[in-house]
């Protein structure tokens, strides 16, 4: 990741880039924040996204993108410090607090977010959301998972298949 001081002609104000969501909303953000995305980082290093151009993101809608950028903006300073060896405990605690709040959202938003994080290759965000979804599964029986995640009731045919499966894998169900 380019350090802020490495100065490829951007003395003074931080370099900004424009991202365009699938529904054609333009978002202007600091290049350092957008570069948390491995996918965008290459384009940005090549000088893309500046001026009137903007980088189109046909897979990400504006609601999801604004959430993604909220994460990137918050995490950009720590990422710029290369994992932040000099971050204070207070900074780290603040990021953790932010992360916890950040994923305290509707399941459908979580799923859009994890998909966007995957497409944009934002590793921290992907593992944050994956961990949140895993927590919704942890310690629950299949029936409880169904209820928590809102699975539709299985069709009789599906149920029969599952019963056969449970016989085969009896050790997993007691």
């Amino acid at each position: 990741m380019a350090a802020p001081e490495s100065g490829d002609g951007n003395n003074g104000a931080a370099r900004m880039v424009t991202l365009i969501s699938s529904d054609n909303t333009r978002f202007e953000v600091e290049a350092a924040a957008a570069s948390l995305s491995q996918t965008l980082q290459l384009t940005i290093l090549d000088g893309g996204g500046g001026g009137g151009d903007g980088i189109p993101l046909p897979n990400v809608d504006s609601a999801t993108l604004s959430k993604v950028l909220e994460y990137c903006i918050k995490h950009a300073p720590a990422a710029a410090n290369g994992g932040a060896p000099n971050a204070t405990a207070v900074d780290r605690a603040e990021l953790e607090r932010f992360d916890n709040e950040f994923v305290n959202i509707d399941q459908s938003v979580l799923y859009s977010l994890i998909m966007a994080a995957h497409n944009l290759e934002i590793e921290g965000l992907q593992s944050l959301v994956a961990k949140k979804v895993a927590d919704m599964i942890k310690g629950k029986s299949p029936m409880e998972i169904r209820r928590t995640l809102g699975f539709p009731d299985p069709t009789p045919e599906e149920q029969a298949e599952m019963n056969a499966h449970m016989l085969e894998y009896g050790w997993a169900y007691e």
């Binding site: 509707d106 399941q107 459908s108 799923y111 859009s112 994890i114 998909m115 995957h118 497409n119 290759e121 590793e123 992907q126 593992s127 994956a130 961990k131 979804v133 895993a134 599964i137 942890k138 310690g139 029986s141 299949p142 998972i145 169904r146 995640l149 809102g150 699975f151 539709p152 299985p154 599906e158 298949e161 599952m162 499966h165 449970m166 894998y169 009896g170 050790w171 997993a172 169900y173 007691e174």
Partner: protein, 184 residues
């Protein structure tokens, strides 16, 4: 009849199920192997997703196989330092139950570690009450160029007040995190 919000939650589950396998595998690699396996009955979509998880991450905890009834038996007795397959002799009453649990666990561990995968493992975590049989699983895990290995050998009863009888081994190699290939 449905509680309010049920239809919304229903839509969410469909959205979750629509995510590509590699994301669901990422989620399942963050729960224990047994739990990952249990998601296979959620729906047809989930039937086989978990199978790919032991290729990258194995997390087996013997205490997950301790049922409430035998847990009470051992908790009211001396917190047991005996390996569970020998423990049966000390507690004649629950001998069958303990042996059942033990064999369910070994079946599971054999199944998960003997999968045909030879790929490098991101993580291998094993929590057991005895190392007797564990050697076999550890050997299989170590053969797969582990990124992180955790072995915990203790009384095995999750809520036991006894300190672990065996210390804790942890090994970590700096692993460039591996990503799954993007679909399409």
């Amino acid at each position: 009849m449905d509680p309010p919000g049920a239809s919304r939650a229903r839509a969410s589950a469909d959205l979750l199920s629509e995510l590509p396998d590699c994301i669901l595998e990422d989620v399942l690699s963050r729960v224990t192997s047994r739990q990952a396996c249990r998601t296979s009955v959620l729906s047809r979509r989930w039937r086989h997703v978990w199978r790919a998880v032991p290729a990258r991450c194995i997390d087996m905890d013997q205490s997950e196989f301790v049922s409430a009834s035998t847990r009470t038996t051992t908790a009211t007795g001396r917190p047991d330092a005996l390996p569970s397959h020998r423990r049966g002799r000390a507690y004649g009453k629950s001998r069958c139950a303990l042996q059942d649990e033990w064999s369910r666990f070994t079946d599971f561990a054999d199944h998960v570690t003997s999968s045909t995968h030879a790929s490098p493992l991101d993580a291998f975590r094993l929590r057991v009450t005895t190392l007797d049989t564990a050697h076999r699983w550890v050997r299989r895990g170590l053969a797969r160029r582990l990124a992180a290995f955790t072995l915990l050998c203790d009384g095995g009863v999750a809520d036991s007040a006894e300190p672990p009888e065996f210390s804790f081994a942890h090994y970590h190699r700096d692993a460039a995190s591996r990503r799954c290939a993007s679909p399409g």
